[in-house]
């Protein structure tokens, strides 16, 4: 691989990382607004407020950056980067066409799970280093929630890997058949619920519950660092949606897959992203104990049942 190719691949991953979260964010503005009988942003950029998030970015970069006196200075200042960069890496490793990913690595399914796990550290660093009571309570909740939901999600991904007999996302999509939609359905539900919880989005937004603990771990953040946490949430939606599309919806499978396979991957991912937004509008926040019960008494057993089902089917009908 030449230096030029490495640069082109890196820049394309970076471009996707900077554009797709904004698309999802604008979709959320508009979809949520219309579901609630509002118009959403209409002014910025002229046409239906398309430039609203760009304007938000310009605003954030001009805001004062405050590090509280009591904060653990360097951990506090580094946390947004730790939260944000892993999602860039995950986007780079997700394939959109056969053999087409920015960073084509062999065990991409495991790699994506691993880097997404690092992103969670950013939240914990932010909550702990802020030396703020709201932030500490939020970080406690975040730690418990992220631990509990990471597990069923990993088990659900393991089930797909077993079904395909590979750890590479590329080969998983290659092995995908339409009847996997039914076969892997319990795992898909577990993955979607786990993903929304990992992103700390409603109905699983207990760690940042604004009516109780201001904004949880992010309470003390201002300006661009705060914006980075928001951006990482939307980048997270992009990663989880694309991952869902690739693992469960067959990625680029569809009519004319040879020519427009990437479009199918993107479309399926977009539909999942809209579902994630829809969940935010439709569901009230879960209480902390309900959250834990759901993870350990529903999702984990369901994920294990899916594993057994997958294993038996693979052995009986290899």
């Amino acid at each position: 691989m030449s230096v030029l190719e490495i640069v082109v691949r890196t820049v394309s991953a970076l471009a996707a990382f900077l554009v797709l979260p904004l698309l999802v964010g604008q979709t959320e503005h508009k979809v949520m607004a219309h579901m609630q009988g509002r118009l959403g942003p209409m002014y910025a950029g002229g046409f239906h407020g398309w430039a609203q998030l760009v304007a938000d970015g310009v605003k954030f970069v001009q805001k004062e950056d405050i590090t509280p006196r009591a904060a653990d200075r360097w951990v506090f200042r580094l946390a947004p980067a730790v939260a944000l960069v892993p999602y860039l890496l995950a986007i780079a490793a997700i394939p959109v066409m056969p053999g087409v990913a920015a960073a084509p690595v062999p065990a991409s399914a495991v790699l994506v799970l691993a880097v997404v796990g690092i992103g969670i550290l950013g939240t914990l660093m932010a909550g702990w280093a802020s030396a703020n009571k709201y932030a500490l309570v939020g970080a406690m909740r975040a730690a418990a929630q992220l631990l509990s939901y990471e597990l069923p999600m990993v088990l659900a991904v393991a089930s797909v890997c077993i079904a395909a007999g590979t750890l590479s996302l590329d080969t998983i999509v290659g092995a995908w058949h339409w009847w996997w939609l039914g076969w892997q359905l319990p795992g898909a539900v577990v993955f979607l619920v786990g993903a929304v919880a990992e992103l700390q989005r409603p109905p699983f937004d207990m760690p940042v519950a604004d009516s109780e603990i201001v904004f949880g771990p992010y309470t003390e953040y201002t300006g661009l660092r705060f914006a980075f946490f928001l951006l990482s949430e939307y980048a997270g939606i992009v990663v989880m949606s694309l991952l869902f599309a690739v693992l469960y919806l067959g990625g680029w499978h569809g009519p004319f897959a040879d020519q427009v396979g990437w479009l199918w991957t993107a479309l399926k991912g977009f539909v999942v992203a809209v579902v994630v937004i829809w969940l935010r509008v439709a569901w009230p926040r879960l209480r902390e104990d309900q959250l834990q019960r759901l993870a350990w008494l529903v999702l984990v057993p369901l994920a294990v049942a899916q594993l057994v089902l997958t294993g038996v089917v693979v052995v009986v009908h290899p």
């Binding site: 004062e64 009591a70 780079a92 030396a131 709201y134 201001v214 294993g311 052995v315």
Partner: protein, 119 residues
């Protein structure tokens, strides 16, 4: 292998992105450090005590459970690669079944004893 080179370059790009954004902020954002501006935020009133508060680490049980099941997950991924081998498939399926079964019994026990409540 070359995939990992791109992966490394992407790590670098991410770090550069963060640094560039911070430089832009330095150039554009105002700086007016005041004593009241850097106090800990407590909904507008003066903060009481420090950020160090006695908290019960409620999630410690979940953390233990997580570690146990995470070890389980570590064994599942390599298993995905060998399950289709003829002499290994059915035997390994039974073995994994026993392994996961023991974990599930443990989880049921923890639930029965009320350890999974957030109190």
């Amino acid at each position: 292998m070359s995939g990992y080179v791109v992966f490394g370059a992407t790590v670098l790009a991410g770090v550069l992105l963060f640094l560039a954004a911070m430089v832009a902020r330095r150039l554009l954002a105002p700086r007016a450090v005041t004593a009241s501006g850097t106090t800990t935020y407590e909904s507008g009133v003066d903060p009481i005590g420090s950020g160090w508060a006695q908290v019960r680490v409620r999630y410690v049980v979940f953390a233990f459970l997580y570690v146990i099941f995470a070890v389980d997950a570590v064994y599942l991924f390599p298993w995905a690669l060998v399950l289709r081998e003829e002499h290994l498939g059915p035997v390994s399926l039974v073995e994994i079944g026993v392994f996961v079964g023991i974990l599930l019994v443990g989880l049921a026990h923890a639930a029965r004893r009320g350890l999974l409540r957030w109190l």
